[in-house]
């Protein structure tokens, strides 16, 4: 059943030897030791497992690894460049857009996917796009604020200047 899949994760070429039906989430977490991407529900309903595939939002818990062969996979670990945080990561800290932080990776990746196609989303567009991601601590308003800060459209003053 084992299959070799060629992957490109965060710009690195990798080969994994796993059943081709294995969800990308577990390949990342268990085989590649990239645990920033989280399991939350296993049925694409909470967004904790969100990654980008060729820049598009994808739920890694329901995506067989074979489907991303040869494509560019970006995870939360791939956003920081040369020790410098991605603007969304900066903004999440600035707006205090996390409490327990378990949904944060998925939130940031979902927001990154949104900004790839729409660099200055309106508040309604943010809410609509992010609605598939669940935060149980209730940080929604601050997450919206963080995305607006990253997009340069924030009207409200961030929590920490």
């Amino acid at each position: 059943m084992a299959n070799v899949t060629n992957l490109n994760v965060n710009g690195k070429k990798l080969r994994v030897n796993v059943d081709s039906q294995t969800p990308l989430l577990y390949v990342l977490r268990d085989h590649l030791n990239m645990t920033g991407t989280k399991y939350g529900c296993g049925e694409s309903k909470c967004g904790a497992c969100t990654v980008l595939v060729d820049g598009q939002v994808m739920r890694s818990c329901v995506t067989p690894v074979s489907r991303v062969g040869g494509k560019q996979v970006t995870t939360i670990e791939g956003l920081e460049k040369d020790g410098k945080l991605h603007p969304l990561q900066e903004a999440f800290l600035k707006a205090d857009a996390l409490q327990c932080g378990f949904c944060t990776s998925g939130m940031i990746m979902a927001a990154a996917g949104l900004m790839n196609k729409n660099p200055k989303p309106s508040r309604d567009e943010i809410v609509k796009h992010m609605d598939a991601n669940v935060c149980r601590c209730g940080a929604y308003a601050r997450i919206v604020n963080a995305i607006e800060i990253a997009a340069g459209t924030a009207k409200e003053v961030a929590a920490h200047e």
Binding site: D30, T35, G40, I76, D96, Y140
Partner: protein, 710 residues
């Protein structure tokens, strides 16, 4: 049996404290001294932390803890010889940000930058016993004691510096984390003072801490201390922990709650490479070198379960009343006289559904046995409780168990127990390797525990001028938190009865305070309507407590209560008190005409919990509570039948999402003259009744069940 009050109050916290600590704490003063190598340690005796509880309890609920006052170490601050400041506490970080707020408290008193303070939390081999992180107790109890310990450590360091310089202690000050003499001609770092010391002290009784008004670090809004690890995905939750040779576990779940294992066929699973099948009584599980194989093995096992017939949603509320264990109350005045004095009377019944915590991180554990010692990484709010659970489950002494709690993907009261830890440890013992077990979302919904469902009956009498003359309030099953009134009712009979719960139930953010506030505040609205009064004026007529009055007036004013009304919008308000803090919530709602879906459009929450420790984090806690409350108020409800949970997945169990967010305005009343109470729970209680009352305002339909649209 006591006078009834104790009984009632014990009932209040039955879920929080269902597993009493065994007092085999494993970290007493002697062991502490053995582990201590050098520098300066300032100990917070356990009795200081307990004494606060006792004091608070006697004021509010009768002193449960007086049997359990061990002379033990409760927490300590260690100034290492390197100058590093470490704080050791058994509290856990689950998103409430105490890793930051406790560090702030210590940095404040030590006069050192926040970044120099490190918190060692919830590792049972490293930190002293702690009952658990619940009940909104960290801020009122742990924080002030750590502040006192830090102040005492500072005074000790100052006298050591003075000794070195042979000057009077009064001439030594701390400026920017350095000790300086009177003319600042000499200075020493903390490391230079702590070096070569081996000093263990207990906080002197007369130590003074910095008044809130002079705080420069504590109480300020600062980002989460290790926030960067979270936004980069580097923080390791339990489910991210990996050990050498680690296997992956899965548990074969019963067909229904309370089912027993009749027979099984495990041959196919056992034939799989690397798979170990474990059966122990009704427990059946597998381990495999990778998760996918473990899942295949679990599915390959055929099990015949036998389950008894069990009640479901439809008969739930009758069942709870029929199986009630009635408890006496402690009536105030006379209900008979109060009813006789009333112009109008009202009897109504309110119900509350079971709901799930659905924490973002499902239960997870990594268990490892080394030379007969068990180490388990797991997300729990009660590390020492889970340690006891493990010791008991495996019949080993407590010192053979270590529980480590990585900062966890939240709990909301749902992670007081150690099921997953016990299961992982059982699998690890059978396979001889470390085992990781992460519950699926479905398992989390089915096999954790729920916020209790309940039936509440209210009988009341009111005069035409709005004065409530009689208040009879009986809660079946959901519990006694928040059941006592802060209204000035002359005749009261308030009781919380136990019952036989068809589902496993336990703590939840706010406990029964949500149910009790829902029933009380909806009933208050009904009484206001009955006597033709405005809901705010009616409440004020019955309030003497100035703090309750203050939050209610604040919420009403900020909301613009009674001013402009928009077509198609409904307005409702509620107020209350629990765990030392006061909340008033006002809500504006709309109803989608086609679907009947209720949308909170705007919410104002006024909250007062004494002196504010960290305004930003407090704001976040209040906001988070309002958001979480929307779920229980409007749509969260566990559906079940015959021991099966019918909607235990995110696809079927609706939780609040971005599009459910109202505009939220939070008013924090800062009472610098009052001690800080915890704030993680109470703000959740006001939303459901405010929204319910707003639905009535808009539609004329009175809904007496939570969820309101369920």
């Amino acid at each position: 049996m006591n006078d009834g009050k104790d009984d009632l109050e014990l009932e209040q916290e039955r879920y929080e404290l269902f597993a009493d600590p065994t007092y085999n704490f494993g970290f007493d003063r002697r062991q502490f001294l053995k582990a201590f190598t050098g520098g300066i340690a300032m100990i917070v005796p356990m009795s200081n932390l307990i004494a606060r509880t006792l004091q608070q309890d006697q004021g509010e609920s009768g002193g449960r803890f007086n049997q359990r006052v061990p002379q033990e170490v409760g927490a300590w601050i260690h100034i290492e010889e390197s100058g590093t400041v470490s704080v050791f506490t058994g509290k856990v970080e689950i998103g409430q940000n105490i890793r930051t707020s406790l560090a702030q408290a210590v940095a404040e008193e030590l006069h050192v930058p926040l970044t120099t303070v490190r918190l060692v939390m919830a590792d049972t081999d490293l930190v002293p016993f702690d009952m658990g992180t619940f009940g909104s107790l960290t801020t009122p109890m742990m924080a002030p004691q750590l502040r006192r310990a830090a102040a005492a450590a500072r005074e000790t360091l100052i006298s050591l510096a003075a000794e070195q310089w042979k000057v009077d202690t009064n001439s030594v000050r701390i400026v920017d984390a350095r000790f300086v003499n009177h003319d600042a001609s000499k200075s020493l770092t903390i490391a230079e003072v702590a070096k070569g010391q081996k000093l263990v002290k207990t906080i002197p009784a007369d130590i003074k801490t910095t008044p809130v008004s002079e705080w420069t670090i504590a109480g300020k809004s600062v980002p989460k201390v290790d926030g960067r690890d979270f936004v980069t995905g580097k923080h390791q939750y339990t489910s991210d922990v990996k050990r050498d040779g680690m296997l992956y576990g899965r548990v074969v779940r019963p067909s229904a709650l309370n089912a027993s294992l009749e027979s099984s066929d495990t041959k196919a699973a056992e034939a799989m490479q690397g798979v170990v099948v474990v059966r122990d009584g009704d427990f059946m599980g597998v381990t495999a070198p990778d998760l996918q194989t473990a899942i295949r093995a679990e599915k390959a096992i055929a099990v015949h379960w036998k389950a008894p017939g069990q009640p479901g949603n439809e008969e739930l509320f009758d069942y709870l009343k029929q199986n009630a264990t009635r408890r006496p109350g402690r009536p105030v005045g006379s209900i008979v006289d109060g009813m006789a004095a009333a112009d109008k009377k009202l009897s109504q019944t309110y119900t509350v559904a079971y709901i799930a915590h659905a924490p973002p991180e499902p239960r997870a554990a990594v268990a490892e046995w080394t030379d007969g010692k068990l180490t388990v990484w797991t997300g729990t709010q009660r590390p020492f409780g889970v340690k006891s659970e493990l010791a008991e489950a495996f019949h080993i002494p407590e010192e053979k168990v270590r529980v480590i709690v990585p900062d966890t993907g939240s709990g909301y009261g749902g992670k007081h127990t150690g099921e997953c830890a016990v299961e992982a440890a059982r699998l690890a013992r059978a396979s001889g390797k470390p085992v990781k077990l992460v519950w699926t979302r479905e398992e989390e919904f089915h096999w954790a525990y729920f916020r209790p469902a309940g039936v509440i009956e209210v009988n009341s009498g009111v005069k035409n001028d709005g004065a409530v003359t009689a208040w009879e309030f009986q809660n079946y099953n959901s519990g006694g938190s928040g059941i006592q009134v802060k209204y000035d009712f002359p005749n009261q009979d308030i009781r919380a009865h136990g019952s036989k719960s068809p589902l496993r139930q336990g703590s939840y953010r706010g406990l029964a305070a949500t149910a009790n506030h829902f029933a009380r505040e909806v009933h208050m609205d009904e009484l206001a309507q009955l006597v033709g009064m405005d809901p705010v004026a009616f409440r004020l007529k019955n309030i003497k407590d100035p703090r309750l009055k203050a939050v209610l007036e604040s919420a009403a004013n900020t909301f613009g209560w009674g001013k402009k009304k928009t077509e198609g919008r409904g307005y409702g308000i509620a107020c209350g008190f629990e765990k030392g803090s006061y909340i008033a919530t006002a809500a504006e709602i709309s109803v989608e005409p086609k679907t009947g879906a209720v949308k909170p459009e705007r919410v104002v929450a006024s909250f007062e919990c004494g002196a504010i420790v960290n305004r930003l984090h407090l704001h976040n806690q209040v906001e988070g509570a309002v958001v979480q409350a929307i779920g229980g108020a409007l749509f969260e409800k566990i559906e079940f039948k015959n021991g099966q949970i019918l909607n235990g997945r995110f696809a079927r169990y609706r939780v609040p999402r971005f599009s459910d967010m109202p505009v939220i305005e939070i008013v924090l009343l800062d009472r610098k003259d009052l001690p800080s109470a915890g704030a993680g729970e109470t703000p959740i209680v006001g939303l459901a009744p405010a929204v319910g009352n707003a639905i009535f305002d808009l539609t004329g339909k009175r809904i007496r069940s939570m969820p309101l649209t369920g």
